[in-house]
């Protein structure tokens, strides 16, 4: 049975060209960039080249790029590092309700243990942060705004330019978690107007275990990992050259073909969404209809539960994900779906299909072929009959 992987928002495969670029740096060129000999020098060159490649894509200076071990680590550094370096100026941090746990939990940690004051902005029914809500929330002692570029579950894109301009006007630092946007959306840091930006390798056909934090020159920030002073003193620990080379290569490749690939993905995605909504009653798209990632389709199927649907799809070799409570560890439905204002009874049946480079039209046809039968089967044994009118806003 052919496997149809529609969970690219969770992670992507490693592009063979990326793997090839990494190959040299495991066995052949394994040196430590800090060493004073030729082997070390070769590693240092690879590191510097990678940094320049990344800086080219981000339209920033190479020294504004700090490599880390993951998107989560970059986010931790951005939030904790900025808070600790600026807390004499103020302790107020603003974020949004649909952020990744890496952001929300880090903010809550600072609130609980280091005296931060936290404002979590609500989102509208499409999942976007309203600029006026941010404007209102900024106070004299606000030091950081951290709002995601694109949401990992529903794919909604925030208007980062508008939001960062508001922060700038009030002289507040602005960080954006762009892990889901990487490879799919414009990430020119000058255009976005951000002070800090997080990206990682595992969502754009690069390796897992590597991320980066863009830090605009002049930003006050502390390291969260101390030691030998690598990465301009901001992230100690011997650099993983193969992962960094792989990440930089993957980023460059993704931006070489971004526009054509996005067009292709969006067409397939639209076919999937239209196909589902027209052939299966009581279904609807979550998130913004237009301002969304080209590869994301998050759809609610009323009267059934997401995990049950996933298991049926899995049986057909189709891999997707759900925000249902039963698939999570805390038994609460997804905070993102709830933040959209959907009633609880409609929050258990959302499925995320996230398309990728390997997704073909045949894959989409296959999903559209098996899905109606699966949904019918589950609805047939469901005692629930939720009315669409009660759910849609």
């Amino acid at each position: 049975m052919k496997e149809i992987y529609l969970d690219n928002a969770a992670t992507t495969f490693v592009d063979p060209r990326v793997k090839e670029a990494m190959d040299d740096y495991w066995h052949q060129n394994f040196g430590n960039p800090s060493s004073f000999h030729t082997a070390g020098l070769r590693a240092l060159r690879a590191l510097n080249e990678s940094r320049e490649t990344v800086a080219g894509v981000l339209n920033c200076a190479p020294e504004e790029v700090v490599f880390t071990g993951s998107g989560t680590e970059s986010i931790n550094m951005a939030i904790k590092g900025v808070f600790r370096a600026n807390k004499s100026r103020g302790r107020h941090i603003i974020t949004s309700a649909t952020e990744h746990h890496a952001v929300l939990e880090t903010c809550k940690y600072l609130e609980k243990h280091e005296g931060a004051e936290l404002t979590i902005l609500p989102v509208d029914s499409y999942g976007q942060v309203r600029p006026e809500a941010l404007e209102k929330a900024i106070k004299k002692d606000t030091i950081l705004v951290t709002i995601m570029y694109a949401n990992n579950e529903i794919g909604t894109i925030n208007r980062i330019c508008e939001l960062s301009a508001i922060a700038k006007k009030h002289n507040v630092l602005f960080h954006s978690d762009a892990c889901q946007a990487g490879g799919l959306l414009e990430i020119d840091t000058k255009k976005l107007g951000v002070d800090l930006l997080t990206l990682n390798g595992s969502k754009l056909y690069g390796p897992k275990g590597v991320g980066l934090l863009y830090i605009k020159r002049g930003t006050k920030i502390h390291p969260i990992i101390h030691g030998g002073g690598q990465e301009f003193g901001l992230r100690s620990g011997t650099e993983s050259i193969p992962l960094i080379v792989g990440f930089a290569t993957a980023l460059r490749l993704a931006y070489d073909c971004r526009q054509e690939e996005c067009k292709r993905l969006a067409a397939l995605r639209d076919k999937l969404v239209r196909g589902i909504i027209s052939s299966i009653p009581k279904t609807f798209l979550n998130g913004h209809p237009v301002e969304r990632l080209p590869n994301n389709a998050n759809i609610t199927f009323l009267d059934i539960e997401g995990e049950a649907l996933l298991l049926h799809l899995n049986e057909h070799g189709i891999y997707a994900s759900t925000g249902s409570a039963c698939s999570s560890r805390s038994l609460e439905p997804s905070h993102v779906i709830l933040a959209l204002g959907l009633p609880y009874e409609a929050s258990h049946g959302s499925i995320r299909f996230s398309l990728g480079r390997h997704t073909t039209e045949e894959d989409i046809d296959k999903v559209l072929e098996v899905l109606p039968g699966i949904v019918q089967k589950l609805r047939n044994i469901s005692p629930v009959d939720i009315k669409m009118e009660g759910v849609l806003r």
């Binding site: 746990h101 929300l104 939990e105 809550k108 940690y109 609980k112 009267d303 059934i304 539960e305 995990e307 049950a308 298991l311 049926h312 049986e315 249902s324 409570a325 039963c326 698939s327 999570s328 560890r329 805390s330 038994l331 609460e332 439905p333 997804s334 905070h335 009633p343 609880y344 009874e345 258990h348 047939n380 044994i381 469901s382 005692p383 629930v384 939720i386």
Partner: protein, 229 residues
């Protein structure tokens, strides 16, 4: 919020590795999958439901919580046994498989005596499914509750009110009005120690006199559902 709450200080806690291993058993046993993909004793069409003449109907749960179960039973009055059991479930695979196998348990071998059916526990259901991932046990508890509700409905309709079993909830914490059922739910939801239950229910914070009994109940329910002391 799906994030794991930050628990400070001493690392690791005693169950850390055990929990990590449990995640491996995320995938279901063949029996669970069989009942999930081929559910037994279900209605094929809406019309079948409308035309069905049950002796008792029970419904438990709510769609807002992600689990809702409905059971229809027919009873052989002379023998006092369940002869048919139909059901519908809104919920995950564990919930669906649990209800399906429960409907088989109560109808196989000429049907289960009502008095025995009333005593069925979630643990009996899980045993028939061979096993469920631990974090999914709570998905199986509604089945036996729906069954008891259906049996009680039958008692009511057949003039046997004296046999109705009230789902007892006894107040343990007199200030916060926390019941034994609340403790049971907390344990099924994954609470392991008294402190976990306290976090969820606020038990024993003001009414300290109940702590000893509450601790005993936590152990009792851990043992009952998870076979742990």
């Amino acid at each position: 919020m799906r994030g794991v709450e930050f628990k400070p200080a001493i690392y690791p806690d005693a169950c850390a590795l055990k929990r990590a291993k449990e995640l491996e058993s995320w995938f279901y046993t063949d029996v669970v999958k069989d009942h999930f993909f081929n559910p037994r004793n279900i209605f094929k069409t809406r019309k079948e439901i409308d035309d069905y003449r049950p002796d008792g109907v029970g419904i438990v749960g709510s769609p807002a919580c992600g689990d809702l179960m409905k059971m229809w039973i027919r009873v052989d009055r002379g023998a006092d046994r369940i002869i048919e059991c139909k059901w519908q479930t809104f919920g995950c695979a564990s919930a669906i498989a649990s209800t399906s196998i429960l409907s088989v348990i109560v109808t196989e071998n000429g049907g289960m005596a009502l008095n025995d059916a009333l005593k069925l526990t979630p643990r009996d259901v899980v045993a028939h499914l061979v096993d469920l991932p631990k974090r999914k046990i709570h998905c199986s508890v509604l089945g036996t509750k729906a069954l008891r509700a259906a049996i009680n409905d039958y008692f009511k309709k057949s003039g046997q009110e004296s046999r109705i079993v009230v789902e007892g909830a006894r107040i343990i914490d007199k200030v916060m009005k926390v019941t034994d059922r609340d403790i049971e739910e907390a344990v099924l939801d994954g609470a392991v120690r008294f402190e976990d239950v306290q976090k969820r229910t606020k038990i024993g914070i003001l009414d300290k006199s109940c702590i000893q009994e509450a601790e005993k109940l936590v152990r009792f329910y851990r043992e009952r559902y998870f076979g742990e002391k």
